[in-house]
């Protein structure tokens, strides 16, 4: 990993979390599992950018039933490390913001004027 910046967009983070839990996935599967966070029209733009960054690899599906072969995506080692670092950074950020107990829900309930 050469000077890999942790420049993850929201969509990329969602995709990495999905790919981290499964072995191989195709675009439509990701869109269905993301519960509306990803859009089918733009997912392949994000995926190809992630491939250029080295976070994921892809291959053509070898299913004779499929009329047009789909593309299956898999997370790489770099992608998995980046995702781990991102989740760690996220939890550290939350700890700093909401205190050591890490109770964001309780803090969010407090109105801003009361603080």
């Amino acid at each position: 990993m050469e000077n890999c910046e942790m420049n993850l967009s929201k969509n990329e983070a969602v995709i990495l979390s999905l790919l981290n839990s499964e072995t191989e996935m195709y675009g439509l599967e990701m869109v269905k599992k993301s519960e509306g966070k990803l859009k089918l029209g733009t997912i392949y733009l994000t995926l190809s950018r992630m491939e250029e960054k080295g976070f994921a690899t892809s291959r053509k599906e070898l299913d004779p039933v499929q009329v047009v072969p789909r593309r299956l995506y898999k997370i790489t080692g770099t992608g998995a490390r980046i995702y781990r670092a991102w989740t760690d950074a996220q939890s550290a950020f939350n700890r700093r913001l909401y205190g050591e107990e890490n109770e964001p829900q309780v803090c969010q309930l407090k109105p801003l004027s009361a603080t």
């Binding site: 675009g27 439509l28 029209g41 392949y44 733009l45 190809s48 009329v67 047009v68 789909r70 593309r71």
Partner: protein
């Protein structure tokens, strides 16, 4: 379902249509004409049964009823857009996007949701064009 005629039957059809000079007139297909055609054909080994089978096929499967091979929606657009952008864009962005939308489109057709299928077709075309625009925009941005 009617059988698709073989080569010999096809020859007879061509010959018959040339003689008749009309588009497969079922009523004009007389048995005397078929005998004549049989003699005219080289070898003359086309059986009457085969010709009757052909007649049945021509009568039952009219020109408008015959299945025609159609392109998948967006197929020509992908081919056209593929010429405008890089090969990797075609392979990694356009083709998978097209494949996924086709899968959704056929799924909608299977469920007889024709409105949804039409909407998906439109959406697919818009996103395919958007993908190429994004590629061109990125190219200018990098320069």
């Amino acid at each position: 379902m009617s059988k698709i005629p073989n080569d010999k039957q096809h020859k007879v059809t061509i010959q018959f249509s040339r003689n008749a000079k009309t588009d497969f007139p079922g009523d004009a297909f007389d048995i005397r004409e078929t005998n004549q055609l049989q003699q005219e054909l080289q070898g003359g080994d086309v059986s009457i049964e085969a010709l009757l089978e052909l007649r049945e096929w021509l009568e039952n499967v009219g020109q408008e009823k015959r299945p025609c091979i159609q392109h998948a929606p967006g197929f020509r657009l992908v081919e056209f857009l593929g010429n405008l952008c890089h090969n990797t864009t075609l392979e990694k962005r356009l083709k998978p996007l097209h494949a996924e939308y086709l899968a959704l489109h056929y799924e909608a057709l299977k469920e007889k949701q024709y409105g949804k299928a039409r909407w998906l077709k439109l959406q697919m075309r818009a996103y395919l064009v958007y993908t190429v625009f994004d590629e061109i925009r990125a190219l200018f941005k990098s320069r």
